[in-house]
Amino acid sequence: MRTFLRFAASGVAVGLVLTGCAASDRDGGGTAEETSDGARDTFIFAASADPASLDPAFANDGESFRVGRQIFEGLVGTEPGTPDPAPLLAESWETSEDGLQYTFQLKEGVKFHDGTDFDADAVCFNFERWNNFTGVLQSESLSYYWQKVNGGFATSDTPSLNGTGKYESCEAPDATTAVINLKSPLPELISALSLPSFSMQSPTALEEYDADGVTGEGDAPVLPEYATAHPTGTGPYVFDSWSPGEQVVLTANEDYWGEVGQVKRIVFSVISDATARRQALQAGDIDGYDLVGPADVDALKEAGFQIVNRDPFNILYLAMNQANPDLADVKVRQAIAHAINKDALVAQTLPEGTEVATNFVPPSVAGWNPDVATYDYDPAKAKALLAEAGKSTLTIDFNYPTNVSRPYMPTPEQVFTAISADLEAVGITVNPVPEPWSPDYLDRMQGTPDHGIHLLGWTGDYNDTYNFVSVFFGAKSNEWGFDNPELFQALADARYQPSAEEQKTAYEEVNAQIMDLLPGVPLAHPVPSLAFKPEIQGYPASPVQDEVYNVITIED
């Protein structure tokens, strides 16, 4: 999952505060001044890269999602400041007893930016489009999320994707009712529909600008006009222009069904270097940026900038590959776990407010278990365990990524250094293996058994335990190097528990089981931060980055 890290985020529920602000601000008057001035209805946000695609169905990276969230809306959104699903274009929904039929009641009177009506036919058009992607469109770099959530396509040349999807059909009994039929249960469907990849797009525009006309067979995919110049959704902002490598510009949708905010123009300014983003804010060139380095927080605050935190909805862990004979010994893994001073690690290298992790899921996710085995910091015990295992002189490869900052791992080099020093202290010789993040690092960790211990993590896509634990331990994988059918089965069973309560209990048991097996050490749930100019108020920080800028206000 490319997205895995790219996106991330979490944050304190500024959302509530924001809406309050927005209202009072407007009452406070000064509108005349604002409009005549004109300059302060533009919001400039520094993106770390260009969006990969403006068609969110072909996107799975944070920067595409960031832009897509402004232009598009899905059937399901999130409660402000939480990862929990909430009504958006669908006002309500019902699930059949067997979990095979979902009936959505749609919001009335919504129009796409091109004037096309949003109705049940448009919903079905979008679902059918996703399910009928063919050829290049089925590559993971494009329709990643449909593939992951649905499990396949209507037809495919790849056997594992050919007709293996759970989606069966879509019906539109009337203009405001859409019915989705499934072949087999998909408990996380509603949560998953809050992903930008499943946004509703204008059927007229999709056809007019040849949205599925991805070319470049036998070469990398070249996106069609729709995905580069004509994205058409129902959201509060309309696409204006995109200068690759430089900026993406959006303008307010004056006919938006919801609140048209104070921000009338959004500029996503592309600044790939983290230091350059910070300096651009300090120099006054931009209004805000994401992924603030932990080191910069105090200096920015002192200079009068605001730091907005997202609720951590992520996990940073140290994986221990059991394909390595030394690490196959649970005593060695326990020794490593006891050798690491997690409290010091968090204090020295991670942002303020970061919590030490004990489970492979954050506490806000159902199934987090307070009673798992915790392996507290105890170098003496670590040494004893190593001696017991007959591995007092152990040399181990430690893989870590370079040139990368992830929401769950803002400073990999620092985390690596701190853990290495801890391990060396109990007599383990660490052999550092740095690699560039993409593609070398991930390829080695996930594609080959050739690695020792390594740093990685995950930010949840939406609120679902399965989206965390099963990503790691759902099946035998190169990353962890163990085969435990019992655990795999327990996870699959937990997913299909009939009630939320039973599901929670089942996941709690699985989490305890995982920590007894100790495939890796959960390290922390780092707090991702954004920074803004002092006059920017009400940024809707969201743990799953569902942040739409029409609620932002800019003070004079």
Binding site: M1, R2, T3, F4, L5, A39, T42, I44, A49, D50, A52, S53, N60, V136, S139, E140, S141, Y144, T158, S160, G216, E217, G218, D219, A220, P221, V222, L223, S243, P244, G245, E246, Q247, R265, V267, S269, V270, I271, S272, D273, A276, R277, Q279, A280, Q282, A283, G284, D285, I286, N403, P436, W437, S438, P439, D440, L442, D443, Q446, G447, V471
Partner: protein, 334 residues
Amino acid sequence: MIRLVLQRIALLVPTLLGLSVLLFLWVRALPGGPATALLGERATPEAVERINRLYGFDQPLLQQYLKYVGQLATGNFGTSTRTNRPVLEEFLNRFPATVELTVLALVIAIGIGIPLGYVAARRQGRLTDHATVVASLIGVTIPVFFLAFLLKWLFAVQLGWFPSAGRQDPSMVATHPTGFYVLDGLLTREWDASWDAIVHLVLPAIALGSIPLAIIARITRASVIEVQNADYVRTARAKGLRRTRLRSRVILRNAMLPVSTTIGLQVGLLLSGAVLTETVFAYPGIGSFLAEAIFNLDYAVLQGFVLIIAVVYALANLAVDVSYGLIDPRMRTR
């Protein structure tokens, strides 16, 4: 002269062919191969295989190479694995930005370097001279990215005199018919846009121009000193040639020969330096794009850009040789 140009262009062909072979083999020699660049986290081996099939990485090498050269001939330099856009398009989109930057850097380097070198030479051995020599030495020995960083930190972040990043103020609305922002503003009479583009260029251009400036100043100094002491200058002086005429026609003109060659050589240095400078200033040119490609191991871009840059570099050198021919009276007779 025309023959010389044609000859040089003909010589370019084997060089480029050789380079294309090297670049082709280079990408194939990469650890993990090109397929991995396309796959994200948690990719399955089946996905790798599918990509290999889709992109033809599983075919015989010779066949792949012929296909590659065939594509090059039609202007197809492949597709960036990071942005999913054609490499040529990416290059052309960003090339105007880098041309503006390097031209201004060169203007700064020449505009300051030549007078500085000349003055130093005229005052050889005096304080001005020593100061120039020392300053130019320091100019060459400070890492470009460090200098860029210092300039940005001081003049953009601390003093706020210049913008810290980009080519244009993001809140500015301007039309760009040519992609050369300074020129665009003049064409469309959006003077403020032109001015804004120039303001954005100043710091990166100074950082980028520092090394060429130092080199040009040194060469100018050395060259002027040499010409001053040459027999024909002494003869001319003895014949009573007026001082101003002597300086402008004889000394400067003859001293400029090695300088003009040096300027041509700076093009390669500027392109190298652009990778570092543009990254520091988040300037959207080919240099920062290349740095991104390096960080993300976007081999299609590395491969394509290196080839295109080699062509640009060769053409720039050719242009310098031609201009050399125009200045040098000995060349003109041929």
